[in-house]
Structure formats: structure tokens, C-alpha cells
Amino acid sequence: MNNSSEKDYFESLISLEYTHTAGSATTRFLEAVAEGKIVGQKCPKCSAVYVPPRGSCPRDGVPTSEEVTLTDRGCVESFTVVHIPIPGNPIEPPFVSAMIRLDGANISFLHLIQEIPVEEIRIGMRVEAVWKPQEEWTTSLENIKWFKPTGEPDIKPESLIFKPK
């Protein structure tokens, strides 16, 4: 091994810019989010509700053509507290990265939790979205600043287990 402290390499930094084609299901979701609404899609076979939708159900391989409007409330399926800085990530640690399961949805998405001491966050805790001011809304889930506790009783985590219809 080379134990020399002399720098024996050079750094070559790269950056990438993307043009992303969202597809029809995600486009519909983002158009709704831009108006402060959350829409998902339902599988015609197993009735799973996907949010954000991707246009098909991976379980059944069929289009999820039925649109479902959801609320911006749900619960914490699980979470972690990130204590280390992540290269290229703008959020300063510690921050809470949580799997948010909206009411009526069968998959969760990652978002922040705030307005509660970190040690009080728990699996099954009820939360609701805190939206940015309307003039800042774009076609992004970042329109929601974070989720905060509603104060309602916790749900039983077992109730999140999906039962296909």
C-alpha cells in the first residue's frame, strides 16, 4: 500500500444535467401537486393505490387507470434520523427521513418530519403535510415543506399490511 502523504492523484469533478420525461401518470400527479392536491392511481385487479403513481401495478402488470384523490394526512411507516452530512445534499443533519404512508395509499414515499422533538417520533404516528406558501408551488413534492404530527392517536402498524382484493 502507498502510505505516502503526498497527493498521488488528481480530482476530476463531473456534473450532470437531466431532461426527465415524467410519463403520463407522474405528469398527472405533478399537475395536481402544483395545485396543492395529491392524486394516486388504483389497480383494477388488486385495488392497490399507488402514490405517486407510475401508471401500472407491479403486482399485476396492468395499467392503473382509475384516479384516486387522497388527503395530505397519513402516518409514519418507519423513519431514520440522518446524523451525517451527505455529499451534494443541501439539508443539514440531523434530519428525519420518514416513509410517509398517506391515508388510503398502499405504498409510502420519503419526506421530512418536523415540529416535534426527534425522540418523540414513532412508527404509526399520525402526520399531516405542511405546505409552502402557494406562490412557491411548482410541479414537485417539495411543495410540501415537511410533515408534522396531527396529535391523533397512533395507528397500529399491522393495519398497513396490504391485503389484495
Binding site: A22, C46, H83, P87, G88, I107, L141
Partner: protein
């Protein structure tokens, strides 16, 4: 299935920065050692199967293009495999299928990662379109599932620390292991900083440079050599965002293990497998995989760890080499598991050898706990 055996296992020294070698040099170090152990030469190699994890881990796209000559693929078939963290395992299986299908007699398979060339946590934490930028590396992704495992099973906090200690004690017996931590104990692990709750620094894998190569051969080449015969092998995957997925105990992992055991004629893995190299990049995955692979009952895997049953002297030793927790060149990590399982049944595992190991398991998982690759190897054909 036409019989196939591992006849050579070559590994590099694993380290955080292998600046003494280039990427081809690192890979060649593993290949040369595998060829020497196997007692075969380049002319005997019919095909080369290469595996590595995402290209962003080095920032070199399609490295198989410039590696073709240094890995001996000149005028030979070359195939590159990618299944994220499980790739070392699935690559070994892709290579072995070239023998079991009867297509070739002797194949070289190699996998690597030279993580010091870039930053894997950065590469795993991009800003995805339309969502808040909160993803935080592999630990950030898997920590919520470990928390859910702890909730379901009621496992005490010290289980994670015990796995972290046990694997590093094993690593102290393996001169190739990246982490060498003499005197490691529970106090040391629990005093290290929290990274992604519930995971502390020493409960997480390192970022390593390294490569692992295997020579896999048909019977007429393997006969008379010290060999690890492949008794069963399988890969499975599941969709990333599918309703009903259980990432704490993934169905694809259960199915993959079931398939491998059926091929190997194993009814009771706990009794019939002597030791296992299982992909445990974060401490809590030991009890989780003990259950997923059928060694322990649901929510009881942590009791195995607590009772020392996965230690080198236990009834089902896990990660005798020190495991992913002690060396993690991601693309190679699965193949190291597969190769270390082979070394155990060949009786070539050195100081971390399990006495009289006849049947051993190698396991890898990757992506969002969605790709699985496993094999069982035996001393006898």
C-alpha cells in the same frame, strides 16, 4: 444440471484506498491469485464474466470496455453483469450457468469496486426529480427497515452491537479484511457516533477498494483438484415500488433460498448447512437474514445472535471472513461471500476456517433489497 465446481478463489487485500494499483491492476491481482490456486492458465479460460455495481461508484462508465484486455477477454466471450449490491453473487451464478449448461468447460468470473475513485454515498444519494433531496446513502435507505425489524421482533439494542463485534473479531483472523480492529468490543461499538438511527458508525460497512475472482470448471477439469461443488444456485428479484412488499422479510429472498435448498436437497438449512457467508452490510441484517433464509423462526433471528450461535464456534457461523461489515468493495462483496463459502468447503479459509465444513452458503442482496443471489457449495460432488 451438469456439475460445476469452484477450483480457484482469488482475492485482493481490501483497503480504503488501493492507490498502489489502477482499476485493471486491482482486478488482475484477484485474477492471478485465482488462476494460481486453480492450477489453470489463460488458454484454459473459455469466457470471462465481469460484475460490478453502479458505474457512478468510480465515475467510469462501462468499464468493461477498457478492462477487456486486462481481464483476459481478448478474442473470448465477455459479459458484464449488474444487479447493484448483489452483483458479485449474480455474476458468479451467470458464470456457473455457462458450465452447468454445457456451453463451456472453464470460465473466469471477476467482480470489483474501487470506491476510492469516487464516493459511493454521493452516488447513492442523487436528487431525484420532483422530490425533496433527503435520500442519504444505503444506510439512510435501509435504516427504517431495521427500525421496523426491531419493532416487530422486540430485539434489544445490543444485538446490533454484537454483530458488529463478532464480524470484526472474525476479520482480525482474515489478513485480507479491510477493517482490522484489535480489541473491538461492545463498549467500543456503542461509543461510536450515530450515523442513521438506529445504526452507529461501527455497525456500518466500510467503503473499500478490492476485487474477487473465481475459476469455475466442469468435471473433467475439476476432478482431482480441491474443489467446491455447486449444489444449488438461484437469483430472484422484486419490483421496487410494489404494494405489499415487505422489505424487512422480502419474498424474493425467501423464494431464492427455497429454490437453492431444493436443488441442494436441503430440508433443514440450520442442520444441513455448516456455515454461511451472508450479505450483512449493516449489523441488523444478520438477524433479519437469519429469518429470511429460514435458519431462524420469524422474529427470533436476534436470539441466535444473542446466544452466540453465529460466532465462528457456533452451530451456524455467519461471516467467518469478517463479512461485508469488514470489507465492502460493493461490486465484489457478493462474490467474496460466494468465494469464501467455497474456501470453507475446500478447507482453505485459513485462520477463519470452520472445522470440518462440508456444506456452505454464499448470499448477496442488492438494490432496494430487491435483488437476491445465493448458492450452496459442498465438498462432495
Amino acid at each position: 444440471m451438469i456439475p460445476a465446481a469452484v477450483i480457484g478463489v482469488g482475492q485482493t487485500k481490501y483497503d480504503s484506498k488501493r492507490r498502489d494499483v489502477s482499476m485493471p491492476g486491482l482486478i488482475r491481482e484477484a485474477i492471478d491469485r485465482a488462476l494460481i490456486q486453480a492450477g489453470v492458465d489463460w488458454d484454459d479460460i473459455d469466457a470471462v464474466i465481469l460484475g460490478k455495481a453502479p458505474d457512478m461508484f468510480e465515475g467510469v462508465m462501462m468499464p468493461e470496455l477498457f478492462l477487456a484486455d486486462s481481464i483476459g477477454a481478448y478474442n473470448k466471450p465477455l459479459l458484464r453483469v449488474h444487479t447493484a449490491g448483489s452483483v458479485g453473487g449474480s455474476t458468479a451464478i451467470m458464470a456457473a450457468t455457462h458450465i452447468t449448461s454445457g456451453q463451456y468447460k472453464c470460465v473466469l468470473t471477476v467482480s470489483f469496486e474501487k470506491q476510492s475513485e469516487s464516493n459511493a454515498t454521493w452516488a447513492l444519494s442523487p436528487k431525484y426529480p420532483y422530490t425533496p433531496h433527503i435520500n442519504a446513502g444505503a444506510g439512510g435507505y435501509f435504516a427504517p427497515y431495521m427500525r421496523e425489524y426491531i419493532r416487530r421482533s422486540g430485539a434489544p439494542e445490543h444485538i446490533g452491537w454484537q454483530v458488529a463485534v463478532k464480524d470484526r473479531q472474525n476479520a482480525n483472523l482474515n489478513p485480507l479484511a479491510h477493517l482490522q480492529i484489535p480489541g473491538i468490543d461492545l463498549e467500543m461499538v456503542k461509543s461510536t457516533p450515530m450515523l442513521w438511527e438506529p445504526l452507529r458508525y461501527l455497525e456500518s460497512c466500510p467503503s473499500s477498494d478490492g476485487a474477487c475472482a473465481l475459476i469455475i470448471a466442469a468435471k473433467d477439469i475439476a476432478k482431482g483438484k480441491n474443489a467446491a461443488w455447486i449444489k444449488g444456485m438461484s437469483v430472484r428479484s422484486e419490483g421496487t415500488l410494489s404494494a405489499g412488499r415487505d422489505e424487512v422479510n422480502p419474498l424474493a429472498g425467501q423464494m431464492c433460498a427455497k429454490d437453492v435448498y431444493a436443488q441442494a436437497g436441503i430440508d433443514n438449512p440450520l442442520k444441513e448447512i455448516d456455515c454461511a457467508e451472508i450479505y450483512v452490510p449493516f449489523s441488523w441484517y444478520e438477524p433479519m437474514w437469519l429469518e429470511n433464509l429460514g435458519f431462524a423462526d420469524k422474529n427470533k433471528g436476534w436470539e441466535f445472535t444473542d446466544q452466540g450461535r453465529t460466532e465462528l464456534s457456533g452451530d451456524i457461523p455467519f461471516n467467518m471472513s469478517g463479512g461485508v461489515l469488514s470489507s465492502n468493495p460493493i461490486g465484489a462483496s457478493g462474490m467474496i461471500r460466494f468465494g469464501e463459502a467455497a474456501l470453507q468447503v475446500m478447507g482453505e479459509a485459513g485462520e477463519h476456517q470452520v472445522d470440518n465444513a462440508k456444506v456452505a452458503m454464499g448470499h448477496a442482496y442488492g438494490g432496494a433489497a430487491q435483488f437476491f443471489a445465493m448458492w450452496v457449495v459442498g465438498k462432495e460432488i
